[in-house]
Symmetry: C2
Subunit: 347 residues, 2 copies
DNA sequence: TTGAAAGCGCTAACAA
DNA sequence: TTGTTAGCGCTTTCAA
């Protein structure tokens, strides 16, 4: 209660309080080595009444082991990333490993800086979003000598392990699903994020899929900032002003797609007859819209869980064991047709 | 490239590579003390070509300073918390301080555990959501000897500093705004979260406000799990089945309120004439709904920023300075009337 | 089952 | 401006 604030307690304080050597106190608190029940209880009680909290900084330095896993993601405002974190957290629950999150705002320089700061804590692994990194960042990842899992993307060359989906393929799949249903005058709306490589790849895969069938996108529009729902309304309005003949609108995420959906329903447009719609992500948040949006599941929690598991497995290996070739896990997203994409036959 | 993976580089490696003492290398890398330009450049180059990343664990142990701030929140799935984090991040940007996030899932035991783990890294401050903590948790916060800011709530007794809003008052304010507009048959829908003290206080303040005007809530319903939007639809449907005469529905968050709104618009209900609606939070995400929802701003990013600033100020104080009485900041949420709560006159 | 000594990689304090 | 010395609070290793 009135313990001097300045100096936190040390092992020595506990040792003195219970008359047991620091070493034995340490053993008790870590459940390591054989300690007699009697000593054990003495130590535990002293630690508890003093309110001792071990110093991991000293512990990690001495043991050369750090139970931290660096998790590096572009953003927290896009629900996709918190969901990945949830998957990671769940898998690490009950293990000694602890995720520590860094946010890059989609900026390569910031990614580099965050990575540097995290590596300076000598974590036992890195989980990092995306496969595109600056040379310096790749060098750091290579040189750290710890397991690295690049997540959420599968189009490119990972430094080490990988767990993600192919966004290019996701775009192509959506293109072919749309074409199969007979839509042909297609517009695209997405974020203006030159640094969101996954959104870009999805778009590329989508146009590629259309092109292969001899179809070109008729309209496209990109936005940045603002509420996605409101943007979806506005942009859909504007796009249909300019190109009233469109019969399908593909959005780069479910939130703007929802905005578009609400707008079109307001206008009394027949969906999916007159115009079909699709988004991307399968955001649970949005179930409960007047129509269920066609979308694709990006396997977010699975990816988080898989990445965490890869790290766990690698850390379970004995120090000098050969880890074998790095795990490369490509998950396959599935299309949800919902009520906004015609479905002539069961797919 | 082919450096043996096992041993990370140390200051000594850099020192040997450039023929400068470890101490001077350390000085250069921390920009501390006077070092000649020539030596400086030599060191910097050596560090860069080797790819040296300093070891903060050793550094923090030696200097007895840790640039980490523990941030403890109940959840990441509720957008409220990522928004608070954004405010915290922004304020710490450009300072040496780094937030580290822990998630409690609204469970007191988990809060205790997360707090213990974070304190074992000897952070320079704690930002923690809520004012309700177990005795053990309060004891740890007290004993840590570092600045503690409890955030998001102002109804209760903080251990140290505080930055939040009074949820009880927020509930009362909404009650009086609703009554002023002549609504009188009122239903409430919210999450079934006995451990979400802020939601509970809002509800208590709300009923208290009604009671003072001689009005009782006519219907109430609580849910747990599932998509909030979908729940809002369902629950609104069911509540109006049971109590068709309600003229106002107050929801504990904007997401279920949005579900209710969409449902009522589907049914062709006149809003806000026949039934008024209000939620809580001012989630920017939802701008773009067919009607703008009445809600209250919970000042999330401001709270995050304020908390971070309190920590910064406290850390800027000289070691032995008297910090004075702890900062207690109570922000005042404002009602947004939107289109779902009648407004007879400008407020 | 317990303890003593050495040292993890760095920085504070002081000396040159 | 640079270098030397002595720890920071733990854990590893080895001895008792």
């Amino acid at each position: 209660m009135t313990r001097p604030k300045q100096r936190p307690l040390t092992l020595r304080d506990v040792s003195e309080a219970c008359g047991v050597s620091e070493m034995t106190v340490s053993r008790v608190l870590r459940n390591r080595g054989d300690v007699s029940i009697k000593t054990r209880n003495k130590v535990l009680e002293a630690a508890k009444t003093l309110g001792y909290v071990p110093n991991q900084i000293a512990g990690s330095l001495a043991s050369q082991r750090v139970n931290l896993i660096a998790v590096i993601i572009p953003s927290l405002s896009n629900m996709v990333f918190p969901e990945v974190l949830t998957g990671i957290n769940k898998t690490f629950e009950g293990t000694p490993l602890q995720p520590v999150v860094g946010v890059t705002d989609y900026l390569p320089e910031k990614e580099e800086q965050v990575l540097y700061e995290m590596l300076s804590w000598r974590p036992s692994g890195v989980i990092i979003a995306g496969l595109e990194h600056s040379d310096a960042a790749r060098a750091m990842l290579q040189g750290a000598g710890i397991p690295v899992v690049e997540i959420m993307d599968a189009d490119g060359n990972p430094v080490d392990a990988m767990a993600g989906i192919s966004h290019r393929r996701a775009g192509r799949m959506m293109a072919s699903a749309i074409l199969k249903e007979g839509y042909s005058r297609i517009g695209f709306m997405g974020t203006k994020m030159p640094l969101d490589h996954r959104a870009r790849k999805r778009f590329e895969g989508f146009t590629e899929g259309l092109t292969k069938a001899g179809i070109e996108i008729e309209a496209r529009d990109f936005y940045s900032g603002g509420s996605a729902l409101a943007k979806g309304r506005e942009m859909t309005h504007e796009m249909l002003q300019r190109s009233p003949d469109l019969d399908f609108l593909y959005y780069s995420n479910d939130m703007i797609a929802a905005g578009g959906l609400l707008y079109l329903l307001d206008k009394g447009v027949d969906i999916p007859g007159q115009i079909g719609l699709a988004g991307f992500n399968g955001v649970e948040l949005l179930q409960g819209l007047p129509r269920q949006l066609a979308t694709m599941d990006a396997c977010r929690t699975e990816i988080g869980a898989a990445a965490a598991q890869i790290i766990l497995d690698r850390n379970a290996l004995p120090e000098d064991a050969d880890p074998g070739p790095p795990v490369r896990m490509t998950l396959t997203p599935k299309i949800t047709f919902g009520d906004t994409l015609r479905r002539s036959r069961r797919g």
